[in-house]
Amino acid sequence: MGTYVRGRLLRAIPVILGVLTLVFMMVHLLPGDPAEAIASQSPGMTQQDVQRIRVQLGLDQPLYRQYLTFLSRLVHGDLGRSIFNGQPVRQMILTQFPSTLELTLAGMSFAIVFGVVLGIASAVRHNSWLDSISMAGALLGVSIPSFWLGLMLIFVFAVRLRWVPVVGGSGISGLILPALTLGFSAAAIIARLVRSSMLEVLGQEYVQTARAKGLAGRTIIVRHALRNALIPVVTIVGLQFGALLGGAVVVEIVFARQGIGRMAVDAILQKDFPVVQGVVLLAALVYVVVNLLVDLLYSLLDPRISYD
């Protein structure tokens, strides 16, 4: 196990390097030079000024040298500073990430609980009204855009019913609507997957054996069927976690929450490249870690899967 984890972490290095290289290239190959972007913020900048900024940012150096500088800084944990407010990018991320993480975890928890329960219920009561309704709901769930859902939730629960504040409520009350919005489509996907996966498992011989042994229906479903049905679900949850990080961009804007999603959008609009690079690096790291966790979960769920 330890060897496996170590191996996986080592293999993550080229992945992260690849992402970093891509991000770096993005900055340098996309139209719109950061120096021009800075200059456009200030009146009366001439081409000479732009050139001076370029020199100051090191953008006049050959690309390979800039790349090496970028890497060597990174190795020292230096992500650079925001072009616009001079704050260290590392500090900005540390300030904003907890809020995004909180939102993503809350959204994911909602999606898992809601999705798994609905999925099991639909599978057990296959072709019943419950099944039809929850699967229709799941179809809606994957189709509704999250910005629309967020606004509707605000309208109903904050403006009409006044149960929660529109934005910025502290603690749980401020987290409910954003988490619902964020987790809704993931819940729908998980519900559909759990349902089909459960249906398949419930038809297998070992489940019939358990039934024949006279085990209680609940025990069969939770202990025997669900555990095996969860393997494809875990894969999807892992993938969805990344999707939720991306979805946080929209949710953070609609609900005016802090977070790296909103920070990334602002940074892209302002062409604050060090910040964009920092956020992309973080997202890549999260993906790598979540994927590793998913693979480790497999072996927990299915003893036949072993990494030794």
Binding site: G44, M45, F84, N85, P165, A256
Partner: protein, 593 residues
Amino acid sequence: MWDHPGLDDLFGEVLEGGLSRRDVLQRALGMGLAAPVIAGLLAACGGSSPAPATSAAVVTTPTVIPTAQPARAASSPAASPAATSTQAAAAIKTGGQLTYGDGSEPTGLDPNGLSGVNAHTIDMQMFDMLLAMDDQYQLYPSLATSWKLQPDGMSYTLTLRKDVKFHDGTPFNADAVKFTLDRIKDPATKSSSAIAILGAFYTGTDVVDDSTVTVHFSKPFAPFLGGLSTAFMGMVSPTAVKKYGDNFPLNPVGSGPFMFKEWVQKQTCTIVKNPDYNWAPTTFKHQGAAYLDQITFRFVPEDSARQALLDTGEAQFIDFVPWQNVARVKSDANYQMLIAPRPGGPFLMDLNVAKPPFDQLEVRQAMNYAINKADILKTLYFNVFQPAGTPLSPATFGYDASVETVYSYDQAKAQQLLDQAGWTMGSNGVRVKNGQPFNLKCLISTLPEYSSISQIIQAQLKPLGITIDIQAIAGTALTAAERRGDQNIDFKIAVYQDPDIMGIYFGSRSIGGFNFAQFKDPQMDALFDQGDATLDPNQRKQIYAQASRTLMEKAPLVPIYYLSNLSAATNKLQGMFHDTGGYFWFYDAWLKG
């Protein structure tokens, strides 16, 4: 690295009398200068005579900036100090906290630095300026009690208040003024707007005594005084700047009626009442501390969520109200809708005269009869804005209401003009002339508003036998294409404080620049030149009224609507009013119980 050689040159040429008013506007616009800066430049731009026309007498207060700068023609009731002064002082309640739903978060709060316009509303509550300006562009004392242009015409002596302290206890004095001005000039400050106001010729400040400074320029520099009243020129605490260094934009310290408390990025910025404040300029209606205890700027970028904040009472003031909500806010007795008309040009459609079909006058005129503006305003803007019939908005100096009626919506007339021009209706419902179909290429930006408006016009012109191909282009590529005149039609709007926006848009010298219509007409050019050179306000007004009418008759454009700034507040919030740029002061504001 933050010097502005372009600006240096511009100021230089202005003051040498080498540039006309139009040149200044044109080049300043190209540089993206802030409106107050341009107003200041215009003040310096005394036709062909060199600038020191601002003769060296003690300037008694109030005074008028020596320019033909317009009084704002129209402003919302809430914006007018007169309207709010009718409130009985006894009714004013002190205390309470205001939450301001803010559509855009600033990057920093250093008024002198690289903070941009998003910081303006917050900064103006926290910082004091040396001078104050009312909505008639008149100057009043603020931290400076008097000001005097020295006989050399190149330096100003300012006498300062002696009773002012910054929020950190540092006394405001001559040293602080020198520190602030020198700091703006220092490239490390990365000043964007303030450096443009202070100008390129600032050579330094002499501390005459503790409450007197003399500010020196290497050339006569008239825009200085007007610029001193803008929030970009807020006086900063030297102690705080030294203490916080690069982090000053996140820890601003001024001497204004509100003090910085906390900024939670991407969420809120909180400022609290300065209990010691006792030096308000007379442009405000009271003295002493602000009525409100605290203002929280809550950054909510999404329009509907910001509106919801007002509905639930989580905010008492919001900016950038979406059009579709204006009627509801207006009809709700709990709210006040704050509509501030913007000066400049209307939202307009350019007709490219450089190629067929708009090389023909009748066809251009036909377009002015063919487009149903009322329909556009109703469908798209929920009748929030007013239909436009002139090249200048009503809030602009030189606007002439009689020009509105040069055209009216009249499809029959449009058909008749098109027939007259030789564009006959083809069998497929599209007009043709010399075998060419009446097809227009329309270039628009990727903003949703532009695609909606172009589609409505597309539908309106179809029955007349006109087809439109709409192409949306992102970013600077659009402007480049428009400058070249690739299109038949395009849309644009400018918020601008001078009627010469007409010359910038339709003067022959702007071809390749902002004259996307490629319009070139000696008669119009002559009128624009005359407008540039005339200093007498009444005369100038007449010239622009005539230019407006003649331009409409020559029809290189179809004006569509007049833009306004849309903010909303609960009725409980009283006493706030906006400055010439449309930003709200909250020093006089109070919340009803």
